[in-house]
């Protein structure tokens, strides 16, 4: 028998991804939809000797082709011969969810309606009569409760049975379809037609609700009670800041940093020593030992050390997202964001920017107005992404050991403040009279499903690991070659190509106090990928210093670096360097994304140049004012 082709569709926040993960387990392939950078997830499973492929479509409220996601869903459903389309419906929010269902029914798509989150619905006093529901729509209906083997089996049973053939649209639906056809043929304007269609659809939904759904009166929901504190009243903003600070502490003090310290020790001391000994013992030529140890292990190791921080941070963000709190952040921050020339919804892609600028820049496309989108794209790179974090963590730990977390926090704040200032500036000049809008669902609070949170954390953190193994690895080799050779052959590091380039670069930073060629080289390499700043520093300062090992094992790695870096930076110039790194030209990947999303090289050039200029000026101010103040 041929493979059964199934697609999952539904609104955002319906637990669709959880169902997808439950159905297909680890057998997933992630690709791209043609022409757009939206993930296409396909999973495979077998049930009762039938091979099944499941496509997870992007979550949308409707299929009006307003956004790339909506267009993808529509095109995919119309152009592919699917055996079955599962419409995942959040039962506790069934009315609004049915809008998409009705739109799909109008297209004559073979729907299986999955009433998910039954437990939530029951708690809120919403009782759905499944039998009547099937009758009134003429489509098969399955009840599920998110993550449960029983639910999954119920779905698979329907997939593999032939019940689909027995269903046909009810008279009510047929009548609705005739009405829709009449509206489409009435010759009014597109906008008017859309309004009439929306009214007709909700009229049908009202009938369905009357017939098959009973909404009890249970008073304010749990979410509304929580919102009383988190989205309303004087405490909402302080609580938001507290939660943000908590995420920070978890990442940098309580969980992430201790693991990172341990890893640092393991890679940059134990493993390094072992490899040096092993390779020398085996009779490998000195230059190759140096390439492996001082080049690759130092470079890749410097980046790998920060993997725990990245994963912990991503875990926190995924968890917060799963609870539904992110929408509240947008809600309470909208007036503030507006004053900054943005919209509350913009805070969601911006928060992604703390992970990585690339998805954050792409996320901006969900903003409604041109102005919001462009401003959001252009300010995102100011934020401290996961790749800049190692720079901050390293310098803070070395030069401000007593205040490391606070100094890193200060850098995050600096990034945010610069983003705000620039947003205001752009709003007042280049994108002056373009409006912005705000319309946002506040989903109910939920305890996030741990499996999904972990999967998502892995999905996102994985990229960092892959980068360490590929581009950082290759860059480390290149940097090692460049720091050990010049055009006439092997040489001392001071005469190397890298030193020449770095020296040339560092001329720009005499007024900022970090005009060493090492810093120059690090800054230059950072344009490739921000992780390489730390990799470069690892190679340049780590090399040749293995002899200065301290007795205290835990401090070995940092001491090793401190001895050679201490002379190169004062705490003030280190701070100025952090400020510069925080703000300067985004990495190549981010620039590429800006080109795609903002549309054109013009914006890439603009972004690269104005960020460099701002970083240069601000780090100069920091250093010079700091000196005047006697630091």
């Amino acid at each position: 028998m041929s493979t059964l082709a199934v697609a999952l569709t539904g609104n955002p926040n319906t637990g669709k991804s959880t169902i997808f993960n439950e159905l297909t387990g680890a057998r997933q392939k992630i690709g791209n939809w043609p022409g757009v950078t939206v993930d296409k997830k396909v999973g495979y499973t077998r049930y009762k000797d039938r091979a099944i492929s499941v496509v997870d479509l992007p979550g949308t409220y409707s299929v009006n082709a307003r956004s790339p996601e909506e267009k993808i869903v529509m095109d995919f459903l119309l152009n592919n011969k699917l055996d079955l389309v599962v419409d995942v419906v959040d039962s506790s929010n069934i009315e609004r969810n049915l809008f998409l269902t009705v739109q799909l029914l109008e297209q004559g798509i073979p729907l299986l309606i999955d009433l998910n989150m039954q437990d939530d619905a029951k708690r809120r006093g919403i009782r759905i009569d499944t039998k009547k529901f099937e009758q009134v729509l003429g489509m098969p209906v399955v009840e599920t409760v998110g993550r449960s083997k029983k639910s999954t089996r119920r779905l698979l049973d329907v997939f593999t049975s032939t019940v689909m053939a027995q269903y046909e649209p009810s008279n009510l639906v047929k009548e609705h379809i005739r009405k829709v056809e009449a509206i489409r043929a009435n010759g009014r304007s597109e906008a008017e037609q859309q309004e009439e269609l929306a009214e007709a659809r909700y009229a049908l939904i009202d009938k369905v609700m009357d017939y098959a759904v009973d909404i009890g009166n249970v008073g304010p929901s749990r979410s509304e009670k929580i919102d009383h504190y988190l989205a309303n009243g004087a405490l909402a903003l302080p609580i938001f800041l507290l939660i943000l600070y908590g995420v920070f502490q978890i990442t940098f003090t309580w969980i992430g940093q201790p693991i990172a310290d341990f890893l640092d020790d393991a890679i940059n001391t134990d493993f390094l020593d072992f490899m040096t000994g092993f390779l020398t013992e085996a009779g490998v030529a000195d230059w190759l030992v140096s390439l492996v140890c001082d080049g690759i292990i130092a470079g890749v190791g410097a980046v790998l050390t920060f993997v725990p921080l990245i994963f912990v941070l991503f875990f926190c963000l995924s968890f917060l997202d799963g609870t539904g709190y992110m929408a509240r952040i947008a809600f309470i921050m909208d007036p503030i964001m507006r004053r900054c020339g943005l919209t509350g919804k913009g805070i969601m892609p911006l928060m992604m920017g703390f992970g990585c600028g690339v998805p954050a820049i792409m996320g901006a496309r969900a903003l409604d107005s041109e102005k919001d989108r462009m401003v959001s794209i252009l300010i995102t790179p100011f934020l401290t992404c996961g790749a800049k974090l190692p720079i901050m963590a390293l310098f803070a730990a070395m030069f401000f050991p007593d205040n490391a977390a606070n100094i890193v926090f200060a850098m995050y704040i600096l990034g945010v403040v610069m983003a705000i200032i620039v947003a205001k500036g752009l709003g007042a000049t280049m994108f002056k009279d373009k409006g912005s809008t705000f319309l946002l669902e506040l989903p109910p609070y939920r305890m996030p499903d741990m499996k999904s949170v972990l999967l998502e954390t892995w999905d996102k953190g994985k990229g960092y690991l892959v980068k360490a193994g590929t581009i950082i690895f290759a860059a480390s080799v290149l940097l090692w070659v460049m720091s050990n050779y010049n055009f006439s052959g092997p040489c001392e590091i001071e005469d190397s190509i890298l030193a020449t380039l770095g020296d040339w670069m560092s001329k720009l930073f005499t007024l900022q106090g970090f005009d060493t060629w090492e810093a120059g080289a690090a800054i230059l390499s950072g344009i490739m990928a921000k992780e390489t700043v730390v990799a470069t520093i690892g190679i340049l300062y780590g090399a040749g210093d293995v002899s200065t090992e301290a007795e205290d094992a835990a401090d070995t790695a940092s001491t090793m670096m401190q001895t050679s870096m201490a002379t190169a930076f004062t705490s003030l110039s280190a701070f100025a360097f952090m400020v510069f790194s925080q703000l300067y030209t985004p990495c190549v990947t981010a620039l590429g994304t800006i080109k795609k999303e903002a549309g054109g090289w013009k914006w890439v050039g603009f972004s690269a140049v104005y960020q460099f200029a701002i970083a240069w000026v601000v780090s100069l101010l920091v250093y010079q004012v700091g000196r005047l103040l006697g630091f």
Partner: protein, 74 residues
């Protein structure tokens, strides 16, 4: 009156949705003439406001709410 004038806890019925860039999306989200709306709360700084419709919660700005004509029902 308009939705903007709704006080917390007030129940209203939508009469008309004025023309705006948001009109189509508001209707997609279930705000149709005749729909019952409960005014839930405003954000700590007074804007935006949250409303309950069709058993879910939606947030919108006051200036957009001002374009939605409503009548109080309870």
């Amino acid at each position: 009156m308009t939705l903007k004038d709704g006080k917390t806890g007030m129940k209203v019925k939508v009469l008309e949705i004025g023309d705006s860039a948001l009109k189509n999306r508001l209707m997609t989200m279930g705000l149709i003439p005749g729909t019952q709306v409960k005014v839930l709360r405003s954000a700590p700084l007074g804007d935006p406001i949250a409303i309950g419709i069709r058993s879910y919660n939606l947030a919108l700005r006051r200036e957009d709410a001002a374009k939605i004509q409503v009548a109080q029902v309870g």
